[in-house]
Amino acid sequence: MTLLNKRLKKRLIMVMALVASISIISCGTIPKPAPATAEVTLSGKLTVYSAGPNDLATNIQKGFEKKTGVQVEMFQGTTGKILARLEAEKAKPVADVVVLASLPSAQGLMKSGMTLPYKEAKNADKLFPQWSDQDGNYYSYSLSALGIAYNTKLVTNPPKDWTDLTKPEWKDQINIPDPALSGSAADFATGYLSVKGDSGWDLFKQLKSNGVLMAGANQEALDPVITGAKSMVIASVDYMTYQAKAKGEPVDLIYPAEGTVISPRPALITKTSNNVENAKAFMDYLLSDEVQKMVADAYLLPGRSDVKVQGRPSASEIPTLKVNSDWMIANQKSVIQKFTDIFKK
């Protein structure tokens, strides 16, 4: 009996060793923290979580890889998915740089101490000051303005203002992106409410009773309008509409006269980053002429005030609401909650 036990023990130990070695092999795929390198020669890896548009993010990734030789691991998702991922990975953070499509979200990360300030970023002084942090916790390298996108075949007389969309002629014709997924839609809702106060909810309630459908992320909301299944998207990101329009799709966009919300796309370095030098180089790259041109080519608004766009209004020409950013940060979560409650009913 004892002999058997001994044998069994021996075998167990062997198996355990086997299991351990298997797990060690599988560990080999995990990015090892790169040693801090000198500023001139960068190497190793950088993990970036970036909100869309996909093509722009991919171009930036490729451009940066080519320029520095750093290998970029990129997770592309909606702002909501990136925030969820960051929260889920809190115990074992992975991301070095995070690019979001919502300012209050970035400010929220800063307030909870998850950002690493980088004050010396090149060209930071040329950014629109209102959308970037003075201490360099986050920089809004690009912007998008929210408008009303419409199908030009179906809508000959486009609405002028947000409240026009509550009219019965548009019943069941309108989509709105889901703020739990789309950072810019979240910015719109919180921004609008920060100006209007509690009475702002009336607009959303009226929209809901006019049959407005909450339709997933931005592309999911816009695609039915392109194909003509729906007539309009409220709080549509402008760049996506312009992109489709440039391709020849029958869509266009207006910015309501009352003013809209500009949704900046802030980039930040995480405090837990193991590749700080690479991350800083990435931030410099985002603010460089090269990327700013890519931004304009993707129909987004450049974050730098000295880079101009052609054929459409620049950030300073779009009518905007006087949003209260402190209120926005404080109430973002509850606004999203209440918003989805209204539209899910």
Binding site: L8, V15, S23, S26, C27, T29, I30, T47, Y49, G52, P53, N54, T58, M74, F75, Q76, G77, T78, T79, K81, I82, L83, A84, R85, E87, A88, E89, A91, K92, V94, A95, S105, N151, K153, A180, L181, M214, A215, A217, N218, Q219, E220, D223, P224, I226, T227, G228, A229, K230, A244, K247, G248, E249, P250, V251, K333, I336, D341, F343, K344
Partner: protein, 553 residues
């Protein structure tokens, strides 16, 4: 040798405990510690919270309606292809399997593009626009999901019908029963056990389904448990305790229904196989009846396969999404972009293929070992391995993933597998292990033990018997299992969405993210390619399993 065996059994059970049972247990544990303190009633709060309760009832309602819809489609089809002269057309079986092999998120998107206002249907027949509002509600989703589940119930019912011996029916006819009377009093009761099992299977599959509710349900504002779990775990603000509560409830519901199903099958099983050679009765149809049968089959296939595949194909070759169905608007540019070497999409496709290759191979190896350990599940360790290794097939995929995330992402977990390629492989292996186990087990039980004994009597060592007798005989099922695993790994969505490391995409997540954020045409082109691969594989499996009959009998 006995030591080896006992040791292998222990190892298998330990492995399954660690990989399958513990993650599920942790879901339960997380759900009853909502804020770090024990609250046994926490999972039940979904019945108090209005939204969550609605989600739960939505899910159940969906399951019930899909069972109804599937029955409506499958019963006539099964009867026609089991009891009439049409049953000689075996190629129909391959066609009928296609809807089930089409990933529901792709099928749903096809239906949406077809039926939406100004969609493809309306472009063909403008007056059909009146139908659209009737389609974009719960019934539309039930239709889509019923057509997807149809092959499952069809196969179950047809096999059951084939086993109803012709002599029983003849007896009824001789005693003066009319055709409908015979169907009602003889065939239906004999079918009941198989139908009940099939219906429960459909029910459980429907309430576990993620793809269709995520694409179509969102369009109509119909939210179910699976989509809510995904929302609470992967879009901000996340709420893990709500997600695990929902997961616990979904898991319990599924387990209860599986238990009921096993009770029914034990209670209402009649001996329909008597050993006497019995050809099932074939009803002779009149000419117009044959026509009717053909029209039914063709119409059903046109709806179940024609509509979604037409939409997917067309969407993948349209230059402008708003340009309509005109020749000038067709292009192959999306395929060119998709298959460009080094592009994001090509990488995603390669990831899918390599992942499926690795997973299918691992599954076949481990699955075979398990199946050989289970044998005919006579002893209780064998039964435990049997139960545990089939568990991932019972548990909704999203629940399994949540469990795996909780365990492997936990701060105390010493093996840093989370967020790596290895984690994806592990998840997929757990997901798809049941398939090989089932295939091999079924095959193994057909092999007469005398063959092994003969091998041993003639002096063969254990490994010799394994290598020269068992494995060659198992080869067809190993291949079928491998191909099946390969196929379903390519289309796996929910596991991939939640477990892929940051920089990695598969063809399924690529398609999904194109629907959400990118270029729908590119997503559809990818869908055409991955579905094409699936169908090729399906034909392969079909070929192998038809050969198998020949080689064993």
């Amino acid at each position: 040798m006995n030591h080896y065996k006992r040791f292998g059994m222990t190892l298998a059970i330990l492995l399954l405990l660690m990989l399958v049972v513990i993650p599920l247990f942790f879901i339960f544990l997380t759900s009853i510690f909502p804020n770090g303190s024990l609250n046994l009633a926490a999972p039940l709060r979904i019945f108090i919270d209005n939204d969550l309760r609605e989600t739960f009832f939505n899910t159940i309602l969906l399951g019930v309606l899909v069972v109804g819809g599937t029955t409506l489609f499958a019963l006539p089809l099964a009867w026609i292809l089991a009891k009439t002269a049409l049953r000689k057309h075996e190629w129909l079986d391959v066609l009928i399997m296609i809807p089930f092999m089409t990933p529901p998120y792709i099928g749903s998107m096809g239906w949406i593009l077809f039926m939406q206002p100004k969609g493809y249907f309306e472009q063909f027949i403008p007056s059909s626009s009146k139908l659209s509002p009737y389609f974009f509600n719960l019934l539309g989703m039930v239709l889509i999901m019923s057509l997807h589940m149809l092959p499952l119930l069809y196969l179950i019912l047809r096999n059951a019908l084939l086993q109803v011996s012709g002599s029983i029916e003849d007896a009824a006819f001789i005693h003066g029963g009319k055709a409908f009377y015979v169907f009602r009093r003889i065939v239906l009761p004999l079918l009941f056990s198989s139908y009940a099992m099939g219906a429960l299977l459909i029910f459980v599959k429907s309430i576990s389904e993620f793809g269709a509710p995520a694409t179509f349900g969102r369009r109509i504002g119909y939210y179910v448990i699976t989509t809510e779990i995904q929302k609470y775990t992967s879009s901000w603000p996340i709420d893990f305790s709500k997600a695990t509560s929902l997961a616990t409830v979904l898991l319990s519901t599924c387990l209860i229904f599986w238990y009921v199903s096993s009770l029914i099958s034990r209670k209402f099983t009649y001996n329909t196989i008597s050993g006497k050679g019995s050809e099932g009765k074939i009803y002779v149809l009149k000419r117009w009846q044959t026509w009717l049968a053909w029209i039914y089959i063709i119409a059903l296939l046109a709806i179940a396969i024609g509509v979604p595949y037409f939409s997917i194909l067309v969407a993948s070759i349209m230059k402008l999404r708003g340009g309509g169905l005109v020749w000038q608007n067709f292009t192959l540019i999306h395929y060119e972009k998709l298959l460009a070497w080094g592009s994001e999409s090509m990488e995603a496709l390669m990831n899918s293929l390599s992942l499926s290759l690795i997973v299918a191979t691992i599954c076949v190896i481990i699955g075979t070992v398990f199946a050989l350990a289970i044998q005919k599940s006579r002893t209780w360790p064998q039964r435990i391995i049997d139960l545990f290794s089939l568990l991932p097939n019972t548990v909704p995929g999203i629940v399994m993933v949540v469990g795996l995330i909780i365990v492997w992402d936990a701060p105390w977990m010493p093996i840093p597998l989370y967020n790596t390629y290895g984690m994806v492989v592990l998840t997929y292996v757990i997901f798809f292990l049941p398939y090989t186990v089932q295939y091999v087990k079924a095959n193994y039980s057909q092999i007469d033990e005398s063959l092994f004994q003969a091998g041993r009597v003639l002096g063969g060592k254990m490994f010799y018997v394994l290598r020269r007798i068992i494995l060659p005989l198992l080869l067809p099922s190993l291949l079928a299992g491998w191909m099946m695993t390969f196929t379903i790994s390519i289309r796996e969505l929910v596991g991939a969405l939640m477990i892929l490391p940051p920089a990695m995409q598969t063809s399924a997540t690529y398609i999904y993210s194109q629907f959400e954020q990118g270029d729908l045409s590119l997503g559809m082109a990818m869908a055409v390619i991955s579905v094409g691969l699936t169908i090729v594989m399906l034909l392969g499996i079909n070929k192998i399993s038809s050969k198998r009959k020949w080689s064993i009998e």
